[in-house]
């Protein structure tokens, strides 16, 4: 399983679109991308998860690990377009109290505006 990540910019917001499973074997790719993006000063991040059918604990751990760093730098990490199966796990872990999630990328971008 491989994970592909593409970057897009919408104003001050950086959108990282994932494609593939995010598990222990691929979470490092996600981690590298988030780390690199934050280190570049792009701290307002949206992770578009529409094409990721599975996110393991390692994947969730990456979001949590860099969330504080992004917030400390005045930014945030927001999740968008989770499929139902992934969203169920998200709710099960009660990460909805920790990380903002949106049904669409547009809504996630708007949330940065407000």
């Amino acid at each position: 399983m491989s994970l592909e990540i593409t970057e897009a910019i919408a104003g001050s917001v950086t959108i990282l679109k994932t494609k593939g499973f995010i598990d222990t074997s691929t979470s490092s790719i996600l981690e590298e991308n988030i780390k690199k993006t934050i280190n570049q000063g792009k701290v307002k991040l949206i992770i578009d998860l529409a094409d990721s059918d599975f996110i393991s604990s390692a994947g969730w751990g990456v979001f949590v690990a860099y969330l504080r760093k992004a917030r400390d730098s005045g930014g945030d990490i927001k999740l968008a377009c989770m499929i139902e199966k992934v969203f169920k796990v998200f709710k099960l872990l009660e990460f909805d109290a920790l990380i903002d999630a949106f049904p669409t990328v547009e809504e996630a971008i708007k949330s940065y505006g407000s």
């Binding site: 604990s57 390692a58 751990g61 690990a65 920790l98």
Partner: protein, 410 residues
């Protein structure tokens, strides 16, 4: 006078006919008298006598002729009249004959029609016979079918009874299953609820591990920076130690020079002594700092060694993540099992309801089948009876056909 005579004698002939008939023999005899007189030489008397005789004979002959002709004519007329009369009868006879002929013709026509009708009747009765035979055959088939149907119905009845027994058993099993599943479902729900609580803990765990990872990463940065700072401090301490060494030498030289100067260099000797003491203190502090830095360096090296084992930490984190994933899978599977059990419970209840309904329907069908078997027995009897009637009809139709054929031949 002729008229009077004619009327007197009731002569039917006309006047001219009477004259002609009366005079013709008289004239012929007068002419005969003339011829005789001419041929035979006679006396006057003889001649008169001959003439008188011939005239008399002529008149008499004429009278007879008139009489006979009239009589003949009368006879003829009477005959004609009779003929005419008879003709009338003949016409009546002819008419009668014609009527008879007409009647005969009608009779013939009617007879033909009758024959035709009889033939039609024969054909129809033949058809009836054939149909009756077909009906008889069909009745036979029907009889067999009814018998078969009755056998099947009896078999179905027996099967239904078995089904009812099985249904009762299944309903009982379903009841038990529903009860068991309800119990299991409740336990699973408790487990799911516990697992959901555990999921929250797993989330916190992931969060904590993420934070630890973050902290480890930050610690690695700090330690790396600390190592670099220690190295720089060590460099500075080395420089300070060098300076202290030089200062100590300088103070020694200053002391020697102050002693050589005597009284004049006494105060300078005090300064040199102070500088020497400072240098010694500085040397001591530098030694302590070097010692401290050496220890720090050792600790930093140890920390670096620990951080160099970060992959091991990551492996440990991976183990935790895997455990979390396994746990999450268990939770999800439990949730799915819980949902499946709920569905199963609903379906079993539905099946139970269906089972009850099936039971009710089975009883109704059982009753109906019992009635059907009785009805089939009645139907068999009726078919048998109808079969006998059909056979009688065939026999009677055959007789009618034979009678009709005989009639046609006659």
């Amino acid at each position: 006078m002729v008229h009077k005579l004619k009327n007197f004698f009731k002569i039917n002939l006309s006047v001219n006919e009477t004259y002609f008939l009366f005079l013709s023999p008289s004239i012929l005899l007068i002419l005969t008298a003339f011829f005789i007189v001419l041929i035979i030489p006679l006396s006057l008397l003889q001649m008169i006598i001959i003439f008188l005789l011939c005239t008399s004979i002529g008149a008499l002959s004429g009278s007879f002729l008139v009489y006979f002709v009239d009589r003949y004519t009368k006879k003829e007329i009477s005959g004609i009249k009779n003929f005419i009369e008879n003709r009338k009868d003949y016409n009546s006879y002819l008419t009668a004959l014609n009527e008879v002929a007409g009647l005969l013709k009608d009779y013939e026509t009617k007879k033909n029609e009758e024959i035709k009708n009889l033939k039609n009747i024969i054909e129809k009765t033949d058809l009836i016979r054939k149909k009756a035979e077909t009906i008889d055959e069909n009745k036979e088939i029907l009889f067999k079918e009814i018998k078969l149907l009755k056998d099947n119905t009896k078999e179905n009845y027996e099967n239904l009874k078995k089904i009812m027994t099985i249904t009762n058993h299944v309903t009982g099993v379903l009841d038990m299953m529903a009860s068991d599943i309800k119990g299991i479902s409740e336990k699973i729900n408790k487990l799911v609820n516990a697992a959901k609580t555990g999921s929250k803990a797993t989330g916190s765990e992931i969060q904590a591990i993420g934070n630890i990872k973050n902290a480890v990463m930050e610690s690695a940065d700090v330690i790396t920076r600390l190592e670099e700072t220690s190295k720089e401090i060590k460099k500075l301490v080395s420089t300070i130690a060098e300076i202290t060494k030089k200062t100590n030498l300088l103070s020694l030289n200053a002391g020697i020079e102050a002693a050589r100067a005597g009284e004049a260099g006494r105060s300078f000797a005090v300064v040199a002594q102070e500088i020497r003491m400072l240098a010694e203190t500085a040397t001591k502090a530098t030694a302590e700092m070097t010692d401290f830095l050496t220890k720090t360096e050792q600790l930093t090296k140890q920390a670096i060694n620990v951080i160099s084992k970060q992959s091991k930490i990551e492996e440990a984190i991976k183990v935790v993540y895997n455990a979390s994933d396994t746990f999450l899978n268990i939770v999800q599977t439990l949730s799915e099992i819980s949902n499946l059990l709920s569905d199963l419970f609903v379906k079993i209840n539905e099946n139970k309801i269906d089972g009850d309904l099936l039971k009710t329907l089975s009883i109704k069908i059982k009753n109906k089948l019992e009635n059907t078997i009785v009805n089939m027995d009645n139907m068999s009897e009726k078919v048998r009876s109808e079969k006998d009637i059909t056979k009688k009809i065939i026999s009677e139709v055959k007789e009618v056909n034979l009678e009709s054929e005989k009639t046609i031949l006659h």
